[in-house]
């Protein structure tokens, strides 16, 4: 049986086929919706680029500043007869209470994290005696007449 014969026999089927064959013109609203979908898609795609660029910049900045990161520096003083030794300097507001050293076999020591730079410091023994670090260079830029040492933390 041919298609035409089928359609002649079944009016309902014929109506459905007619409806399906009817050309459909896109409305202006449909066109706008389609355009909005497309541009929205593009916008989302574009929005990803700044994020990626920012991530690259952050990584580059982090790598370039890795050398500026603080690193542990050990300070030590042989003072077996002392009851207390503290570290005082440019890195702790010259506050004798911030960094107490710990004694082990007569050696007092503490480890401090410092960024690259030049720091002046001293030990305070038994709360009143200022002692320069015998392991490091003394500094001449002491304006107050007490023994002061200097340490240079490299990059």
């Amino acid at each position: 049986m041919r298609d035409d014969e089928l359609l002649e026999e079944d009016p309902m089927l014929a109506a459905v086929v007619r409806e399906l064959r009817r050309p459909v013109a896109p409305t202006s609203q449909a066109a706008e919706r389609a355009l909005a979908t497309l541009t929205g898609e593009r916008r989302r795609r574009r929005a990803g680029w700044p994020l990626a660029a920012a991530a690259v910049l952050v990584i580059a900045w982090s790598l370039s500043h890795m050398s500026d990161a603080a690193r542990p520096v050990r300070f030590a003083l042989q003072a077996p007869a002392s009851a207390q030794v503290t570290l005082i300097g440019d890195f702790n507001d010259w506050d004798p209470h911030q960094i107490p050293l710990h004694a082990r076999a007569g050696e007092w020591s503490a480890t401090v994290r410092l960024r690259p730079g030049r720091y002046r410091y001293s030990f305070v023994v038994d709360g009143s005696r200022w002692v320069a670090d015998p392991q490091r260079a003394a500094t001449t830029d002491d304006d107050f007449g007490t023994p002061t040492s200097v340490i240079t933390v490299a990059h």
Partner: protein, 205 residues
Amino acid sequence: MPTDRSFHLRRLWLLATLAAPALSAQEPRLAARLSPGTALEVQHLVDSATRAALPAEPLIQKALEGESKGADSARIVGAVEALLQRLRIARRSLGSGATEPELVAAAAALRAGASPVTLGALRSLRPDQSLVVPLSVLADIIAAGVTPEQAWSSVRDMANTGAGDAAFLALRDRLTNTPRAADALPPEARRPPTEAPPASRPVRP
């Protein structure tokens, strides 16, 4: 009278508005550790540094150091003032791109006796590398008794080779651990001083 009260209130409000930034900018560590008069004088110097885009922290540390060492007000203020002046010279010599650690190291070199011209020359030799270690080494070598000219000669020659920080520190250790540090200079550093380096050399902005 309501008008008078309103006038006084407005005047108080104006005073409070004007004083607010100054009060909020006051460094609490200075106020906590120094006498009011000393803290005020140091604060003026710190403000001056900030206006000149110079780091304030080294000045604060200098003042706190003085307090910790029991120095009197005049000595503390004098030391902070002198450091501010050295930081200014360091900034002029190294350029506006100098970092705070570089300025601190440069100020130490100046204090030790290095010439401002040498700082600019060092920047020209290492335009893209940190000057913290070379400047600090320069300060240490001079402090150890080497003349500023000889010390600069050593540092300059090392910088010319493109040496890294470790090499500068090794040079410093070699020179400062010797009782007569000047005798331990490398042969090329013993020649008569050829300073000062040309001032026309470009300085990193």
